[in-house]
């Protein structure tokens, strides 16, 4: 789990009783600017409000005509600050929010891309192939022996390789451009055609991706006969290099692969985890 969460302020654009509504164009401009800076924003209109409880501070903006009310959360859990925006243009309103936030850190778009696998459990068969495949310990097993994403901050940005080898097309990367990796609906006939079972040994042999393209029995037989750690790693490197050339794996991911020893160690651990989880099912 990524733990560096910084979202110190929730903004409420209050246009209910006691506040004059902004012109629609100004409202849209303010909301777009705040969202693009990483804030969450509620538009609370006349007669209703939408404020799910939250453990953070609220900044309530309203055209209170100079009389911003003092507000207090009935539960005492949320601190509420109010600001009068009467007469302010959208840029000034956005600046006011920034000033209210002060120097508190906040997650901001542009500095990081939320890139991690999302498992579609309606398709996942818990085969553990992704656990065996990923070299970066992104996957793990829950207490009830279900595959889960445990270390999404280990995932290599723009690398959707585990999604490509999932036999059930159950792994999504929502920020990916193309389907079905991005979560688009799946053509079931294509999904069936793409099914392939691999394990870490095929990864070490560097043949997993070419196997996706050429699944002949002869190739598999040849692969298993020639398997040895050194040769396998050489082939794997060639294959990965080709994948980089084909645009399947970003170059920086290839450059950050663990050492040979680490890969072998991870392979043993991952295989044992997967075997234990499968045996316990």
């Amino acid at each position: 789990m990524i733990t560096h969460t910084h979202r110190p302020l929730r903004v409420v654009l209050y246009e209910g009783n006691g506040s004059i509504a902004l012109p629609a164009e100004s409202r849209a401009k303010v909301m777009m600017a705040l969202l693009d800076q990483g804030y969450t924003v509620t538009r609370s209109g006349q007669g209703a409000s939408a404020m799910p409880h939250d453990d953070r501070s609220l900044l309530v903006l309203g055209s209170f005509e100079g009389k911003a009310p003092a507000l207090e959360d009935a539960t005492g859990l949320v601190s509420i600050d109010t600001r009068d925006i009467t007469g302010l243009d959208p840029d000034a309103i956005v600046a006011l929010v920034g000033k209210s936030r002060g120097d508190k850190p906040m997650n901001e778009p542009g500095k990081w891309k939320p890139w991690f696998p999302v498992i579609d459990y309606s398709r996942c068969t818990n085969c553990m192939q992704c656990l065996s495949f990923c070299l970066f310990d992104v996957y793990g097993v829950s207490e009830d022996n279900k595959i889960q994403v445990q270390n999404n901050d280990n995932c290599k940005t723009n690398c959707p390789a585990c999604s490509r080898v999932c036999p059930e097309v159950a792994i999504m990367f929502p920020k990916y451009q193309a389907g079905p990796i991005n979560g688009d609906e799946i053509n079931e006939s294509e999904a069936g055609r793409e099914k392939i079972k691999v394990d870490i040994s095929s990864l070490l042999g560097g043949d997993i991706y070419s196997a996706l393209k050429d699944r002949s029995a002869a190739a598999k037989s040849r692969f298993s006969k020639e398997r040895s750690p050194d040769k396998a790693l050489d082939e794997r490197k060639k294959c990965l290099t080709k994948l980089v050339g084909d645009g399947f794996i970003p170059a920086d991911v290839l450059a950050s692969l663990p050492s040979t020893e680490e890969i072998l160690k991870k392979a043993v651990i991952a295989k044992a985890k997967a075997a234990a989880a499968l045996a316990a099912q």
């Binding site: 789990m1 990524i2 560096h4 969460t5 409420v12 209050y14 209910g16 009783n17 006691g18 629609a24 409202r27 849209a28 909301m31 777009m32 969202l35 693009d36 800076q37 990483g38 804030y39 969450t40 924003v41 509620t42 538009r43 609370s44 209109g45 006349q46 209703a48 409000s49 939408a50 404020m51 799910p52 409880h53 939250d54 453990d55 309530v60 309203g62 009310p69 507000l71 509420i80 109010t82 778009p109 990081w112 891309k113 939320p114 991690f116 999302v118 498992i119 459990y121 889960q148 994403v149 999404n152 901050d153 999504m172 929502p174 920020k175 389907g179 991005n182 979560g183 688009d184 609906e185």
Partner: protein, 121 residues
Amino acid sequence: MSSSPATILYCRCAYAQVVPTGVKNDVLQQLCASEASFETVSDLCEMAAHRDPRLQAIASCGKLRIAACYPRAVKGLFQQAGSPLPADTEILNMRTQTAQEITDALLSESSIQQPISSIEP
């Protein structure tokens, strides 16, 4: 048509820009031009990555209509963050649908804002 009101949630997809800018801007502008109250977040993926507790608040606030991206991905994000969406959640896809289709669905009769807790200065 369902008579129960729905909460509207708009995702800006601000961290990666995979949603077409024109569509997401048009949807937000049309929401802003309406009378509806609604929730907006900068990026649901970013929130899911951080297991943001606000996802739980959103998932537990009753009937939902969400403007974001592919429904399979949105459901998966909430589930993976430990806050599965209610089965009757409607998810509109700004990557494939038009802004008009989305706002028509978001603002249809049954999507009047569900009050979760009220604030009246």
